[in-house]
Subunit: 363 residues, 4 copies
């Protein structure tokens, strides 16, 4: 399977960069959930291009149209499908991609897999544009979670070698969560944003691009969401989040750093807090033990490679002649997609957590 995810809340994403429309179908949402449309659009705007000096200038309205599943703005329990028309298509930019596959893109692998009929325009179904319906789905899920006291936020943890301050994994304020989840380019330390922008601008000046990481946190989770083995919180979040283009790594809690620790350093001691609730003093587990949430904030980090679309001349192959060739990619491209990816990572977290709750009878 490819573009369908989930057992209880089945998410199906469809469309391509230059198809008539893109969209998402959600089968299994709870009934009776009111949707705050302004809040949905605000999340869509966080992912949309063209708002920031670091982003591409291709502007799109990205106004989702809900075809079904809502009645008077409230979920009916039937499948909810929403589409976004693609209005600003300049297909001619992509004519030569069938011939000269772009390094770092899916052009070559999709060509081998699907043959000549693969829709190569703008990356087709592999385009980062497909995160728009994911963010829409996440925006709905986010509201359902918030109604249950669960908040989801992220920040750009690094771009290139510039690092933001990390989340406090045991004690993050709802105010910070609120602020970050509303920002286009969320950072904990605002001073770092300008440093990061400078790194991006430098890459752009060099006709280049740059990667980064996103750290995501979920607070307010109940204990007991998740399943052993392949149904754990890590498994579900990873299997959904790797659907975001350019993502190449994910780690939970202390993650790769834990591999350098000793058990006595990495184990999070349990204690009863003043309200008699079981908590852990540290949170190197990232809020997950045995695949199941332990009531502490769920924390994970994801790595994004630099966007492969750069203006510099690159080496590639000519699939028609069977010879090596040079490629120059035209058109406008983000030198850094990490700020926008943050919205997509949060959306993936929102959908995955909603699914975890549904699977665990906690919704």
């Amino acid at each position: 399977m490819s573009s369908t995810w989930g057992e209880r809340i089945k998410l199906s994403i469809f469309g391509g960069s230059h198809t008539e429309a893109i969209g998402v179908n959600l089968d299994g949402l709870p009934a009776g959930e009111a949707v705050d449309w302004e809040a949905v659009l605000a999340q869509m705007a966080r992912r949309a291009p063209g708002q920031d000096p670091t982003a591409t200038r291709r502007k799109e309205a990205d106004q989702p149209r809900v075809l079904c599943g809502l009645l008077d703005g409230v979920t009916t329990g039937a499948p909810l499908c929403a589409i976004i028309e693609n209005t600003n298509q300049r297909s001619k930019d992509y004519e030569n991609l069938r011939v000269l596959p772009r390094p770092g893109h899916a052009d070559y692998t999709a060509y081998v897999k699907y043959g000549n009929r693969h829709d190569v325009r703008g990356g087709g179904h592999f385009s980062g544009r497909l995160t728009a319906p994911l963010v829409f789905a996440g925006a709905l899920a986010r509201q359902m979670l918030a109604r249950r006291g669960i908040l989801v936020a992220s920040h750009v943890a690094s771009i290139g070698e510039v690092r933001d301050a990390p989340f406090d994994p045991v004690n993050v304020s709802p105010q910070l969560m609120e602020r970050l989840s509303g920002e286009y380019f969320p950072v904990i330390d605002p001073a770092k944003r300008e440093e990061m922008r400078a790194v991006v601008e430098a890459a752009r000046m060099d006709q280049d691009s740059v990667g980064g990481t996103v750290e995501c946190m979920v607070t307010g989770l109940p204990v007991g969401a998740g399943n052993p083995m392949f149904g754990g919180a890590e498994n579900l979040i990873a299997s959904l989040a790797f659907g975001i283009p350019a993502m190449k790594g994910i780690e939970f809690g202390a993650g790769f750093a834990a591999a350098q620790l000793r058990g006595s350093q990495n184990n999070d001691p349990f204690y009863y807090d003043q309200e008699g609730k079981v908590r852990t003093r540290a949170n190197r587990s990232g809020g997950i033990l045995g695949g199941i949430t332990n009531g502490m904030p769920l924390v994970f980090r994801t790595a994004f490679k630099p966007t492969p679309s750069i203006s510099r001349e690159q080496d590639t192959v000519d699939l028609t002649t069977g010879r090596n060739a040079k490629l120059v990619i035209h058109g406008r491209h983000d030198p850094c997609i990490v700020p926008r990816a943050a919205a997509a990572v949060e959306a993936a977290a929102c959908v995955a957590v909603l699914e975890l709750l549904a699977e665990s009878g906690l919704l």
Copy 2:
């Protein structure tokens, strides 16, 4: 869902540390595949405890018994189920785990999720022992892959702060792949093994444990295995591999390091090799573009936290009294499970790749 994975080749793992038996059912294996039993046992032995100074001394025969699915040693196409009897159970060691959950373990989360009836003995279904049936399944898959020219190997890339030499991601020899996939404690640079053992022994002396990383490689893959979005090679491998206890992170190709690079550094240029085959000069993609294999070696690294079972006194809670408490874990435990985890990571890679091939019509 929890302990079942896959669409085309459905893997179901069952059992607990102290149940009568553990095992695995594989539904969807191709028919007509001969099984080399010695090779299966050799893989089982790589995961088994008690072979190395770094490992626990609990010895188990781990002789899998195939109940069905083989006829004269060849797969019939019907479900293949194998079980391993649990013979060396000392349940009394675990009596107090219902009361005092171990930090870093699933005791507390499983208690909340399943209640008093959860099988807490030895971690129950959450035990690392459940990697035995995974390794068995991987051993079968490995033989089917090898028959198609695909090799899977891994090495202990680090323990604590000691690092092995990395794989050459574009040009690894079949000899190295063969050697590593047969070793109990696989390393590329044998000198590092002794350094790593010293780190483990030091942890043991301190009644502590230590984590590490495993780097895994798959060579000989065809182009075109995998699917877009949620069905990509990264998604499938991650969703399966996070079923290995203590795993907290995964990265593909350059992974988190890619987040610090520029596009011009990270993009892998295509070229035609001498046989007219499309290859990439570097392999920072880890052999995966758009979720689909590109014919280069598939490379990923996984992070393992230090095993949480340490002999030192730890802080925890007493679930019966509602007060904070001290815990001392008795029994023998690995100070480092990373060498044995390598066998499990390879097994996950073998099963995931077989599934990817099956889904892509390449089996």
Copy 3:
């Protein structure tokens, strides 16, 4: 799950009788399949209301709009989503359904399951209108099957007590298959169509409705499509076809009649035909042995209850007062949906067979 079906070719149907649009997403279609749009519309027309004296007069354009998945009229291999706008909505007809559930409809059960937010208009997601996207999906699948020599057709086998001539289960002509699969009210014996119409008209005169059966046949199937146990051809076809509203039974081959036979009567003897192909002399198995196609025509029959929307006064309950009540349903309703159901049954067969072939590596 509810409105998503399939493993290899994932079908997701969305929308309700009075939502803005209804539609279908198909994830997993093979790439490179040309779509004959006229043939698609011809199938849509077979299901559409208003063409026959026996059908309701509510007219709808039912022009599907493909949002993605086709490029120059050929499948790209990416998800194909199509929507149909709902243009002719008269919601006021349905205001009282929340209060007085219609006997034989899902009003009451959906009310209990989804609560007040359930979209009751026109039956919402439970409406027979949702067979339109199913027929669309079936029309695409039908063309892919035809390209592989596989034909799908059905006929109205009975309405009330009037029975059409049955299919010859071993030797049906492609000409008959072609004729039936193009007709709005397909019957093998055209004389029976007038008798059936009279039965329907009599029911209409009585402010009543009438049920019937549809017999469906698939010819040209290869041997070996299907799986044992729960993945058999019967299982897949039944699990999809019971998604058609008002369907209450399904039987394969001799079906319920086989229950009255002896083995010597029911077993289909094998023989080699003149081309050296294995065939059976009779076809009481309906072309399926052990869940797997045997190369003979696949035959099944489905039972449709009389449409529950009748104009006569009926007994029901008033969910607001907690008292028994009388209900008179206004609006125009088909006195018999069986001729239109034939198109839906064929569509279900087309999709299910495509899935069976895909699962069996025969596509």
Copy 4:
């Protein structure tokens, strides 16, 4: 997929007629459910051969051994796997099945699908023996349902042309449900049992076999179990029940008879009963409206073909010579499997209903 079923409660059946063992794995059972072992064995005995003059005399202990998932006789919430050793194997009886496929059996289709490696002994994975693990799974599910006031029973509704009295679909007594679900050859009217036995004995005397039908009922269901479209109660029950070998048809409520009725006859009027509960006066819907239970008894009937294994000489093909041939099947075979099939049908109903409840949040 083939031998795995379900989303919330995943059932995997494995083994073949002559493999070392057969069994079942259940992933997703609720924790804390006590198992009455005697009651489990009683259900196993109902399916076991050799108890009745109508049944084959091959005797098997059929003692299931639970490998995991129970602790002190109570479910732990982890996967529950049970196996049954195959002790009474006479493989030599089946040597010629690779050459001369039995009419009405899966020998030929499995040969084409799996090739020479298919396990042909006793039908392999296609054997009716595989209903033993299904009945085991059903016995567990039955106890979980009973604890929630839900009873499942069936009777042999017909053998050949002899018909038992039908269930009263609106008002069946718990006493009758209890009696039937404990009987080896359950009938409502005991006098009919002797008539049916005579029909079976006559078939045996003629070296023949005979088919029949099973009517199954589920009482005590809550309103609201099930989903629209492909997730309805009919879909789930059918997709599971068609896994029982020899089943060729299923109908719910009035089923095929409804196709001959008018709406005014078939609609079940709603009313409030004396306790203020919504009920229907008749139950032609079989307790299901729109795929969702309405609180009335759920009723369905299934058709079983006569067992194809008959002693009479039959026409078949010789797959080695490519010529038509004669086949005489040796060994002992049931002339009628319908009484034993009743236990399997009930088991399928138990598992499917447990899944429906789990999916609907009603467990």
